[in-house]
Symmetry: C2
Subunit: 353 residues, 2 copies
């Protein structure tokens, strides 16, 4: 039996000041590199700080600080149940938690099917001269240009969900999309020897310049090709808006291809298969999807799909904005620039709790 006590020896600026033989304000100047301190004094102070192992009291500095920070976030518009809704909820939650810390957050919702809408949001943001901008990559080219402008205006920016690697972002929060896709493929195929797989995609992927899930899809298909060279991947396009058509298309495909039992969707909308899956049960079928949208979880619970690769969208967004806020508050001293979010596997059995 032994006992270990964890308390903090709490030194204050006054302690440091006394020890260094200077005024409290001088300690503050050194701490935050505000200048107006002679080299000699600076050294004395640094020595005292080190010797006392002084760390500022966050509550006190918070309370005394008058500086306000403004963060702008770019989020696609969404309808209830869509992927971006969860993300938006995470951002709102974080924004609320940080509002007592002198941080205000402006959410800019743009239409992800309309470049101009995005461009307009960017313009508004630049005009508002925020302290920081948080965004994800929807229109890669525009985003790149926008980030350049932010840099030349000395505005910090952070990516969430996905990113452009060679830019000067402050923070990234998100998964490794390629690995994400590979994990989905593993889940679909492990302990099986698939000859055919149905990969169901959204028709809009064809229209769009950018498909936000492209990297994930490549991870998925690469894994299949590597592990099962003889496996054929059938690609089927559906339109999220046309529920009836989806059913038709799927019925048509699976009637013509009765030997296909492996089904995957690499976007977040595997729940779109619900009607078909309900109507045509198949004990041999394995369905894997991505992201923990409520509708997807319902499908899992109902036993319509096997498993989901998931990344706590809301938590990811919450953490992304929170880290960015901390980053701005703490004078841009962060340890990690990239925060790779953990991928989770959800099955019927670990769905709840």
């Amino acid at each position: 039996m032994s006992m270990q006590l964890i308390t903090n020896e709490t030194y204050t600026v006054s302690d440091v000041a006394k020890k260094a033989g200077v005024a409290r304000a001088t300690v503050d100047r050194v701490l935050f590199n505000r200048g107006y301190v002679s080299q000699k004094t600076r050294e004395k102070v640094l020595k005292a700080i080190k010797e006392l192992d002084y760390t500022p009291n966050a509550s006190a500095s918070q309370l005394a600080s008058k500086k306000k920070y403004r963060i702008a976030c770019l989020v696609p518009q969404f309808r209830p149940g869509e992927y971006w809704e969860e993300m938006n909820n995470g951002l709102v939650a974080s924004a609320k938690d940080y509002s007592p810390h002198n941080i205000s957050v402006a959410l800019y919702h743009f239409d992800q099917n309309d470049e101009e809408s995005f461009v307009n949001s960017c313009k508004s943001i630049l005009e508002s001269k925020p302290d920081g901008v948080m965004l994800s990559v929807v229109f890669p080219d525009i985003v790149a240009t926008f980030c350049q402008e932010l840099e030349s205006n000395n505005i910090q920016y952070a990516f969430m969900d996905n990113k452009i690697d060679n830019l000067n972002y402050s923070i990234y929060h998100g998964i490794d999309s390629y690995k994400n896709g590979r994990l989905g493929a593993w889940l679909l195929t492990t302990r099986t020897d698939p000859k055919e797989i149905a990969l169901i995609r959204l028709r809009r992927d064809m229209r769009h310049k950018s498909d936000p899930n492209r990297t994930r899809r490549h991870g998925f298909t690469d894994y299949i090709e590597d592990s099962f060279p003889d496996c054929r991947i059938h690609t089927i396009f559906i339109d999220p808006e046309k529920t009836d058509e989806i059913l038709e298309i799927l019925e048509d495909f699976f009637t013509k291809n009765p030997s296909v039992h492996h089904i995957a969707m690499t976007n977040s909308r595997v729940f779109l298969l619900r009607d078909f899956l309900r109507k045509h049960p198949d004990p041999k079928r394995i369905v894997v999807g991505f992201d923990d949208l409520k509708n997807n979880l319902d499908c899992l619970r109902e036993g319509l799909i096997d498993s989901l690769v998931v990344r706590h969208i809301k938590k990811q967004a919450y953490n992304a904005l929170s880290s960015f806020a901390e980053y701005l508050l703490r004078n841009n001293k962060t340890k990690h620039m990239n925060h790779f979010v953990h991928m989770e596997i959800l099955t019927k059995l670990n769905l709840d709790n």
Copy 2:
């Protein structure tokens, strides 16, 4: 394109006091039910609070508060790499984070093979008269008695990792062990039709009055029995200390039972199988274990085991202590008493990040 701004209208006690026509102290009395307030005044104040949607500034109250809280934690002694080390790390991390908040934490390490050691720790804790005690159930009977004493001394206590249901604990943080075991069984058997399973246990389970993983094991065996009535579960006992013997025992068993390909351990030490698994590869073999000990993760990475059911031990302990600290700080107003920790599935593919 649209924009939504999240800022806080920050009202203070003074605002509330002015609006209610009373002094700041009176507002404080109402806020924290300190008494000495007439019913009439109380109502006025409550009305003002509601109208302004006032919430106290946490930094300010933190800073002004003089009350110190002391929390005692009961943790089994451990050697590097053992389950309790991770838990201890989580507690230490949380304790450090909360030390600026007037909270000091004492960690009591006892020998989990020695009841007396545990009893002594309990005595020391009672003598130190802490504000709260955090513990998990190792010796159920002693724990029950100890908790009674805590109650009669008006000391709050919280369980982590596991709990005794009918006690008056303030908070519980941990998994649903039974479900945890079922998930492991699912992982081991999904897409297969097992006729035989090897369940490897620790010999100490037999000696101990309590087996901390009993509930989990029951979840595991129940799932197998429900889903595969014809499946035979072989139980094999090994001694964690005797590496050579483990190898012998396993070699012996699997030579005699070559048809067994499903292996599970419901405690945290599946890594004990490492030598055997390395020496006798079997492509048909499926191995499932629990808990993300470093050694277990290494086995996963090496491909020796298939998957792990995991619950972020360190994070769980961190959250458990943090919630308890918040609970004590915030005058015991918590929404949830039980925090069921999410179970995760770890495979080679989502091991890192």
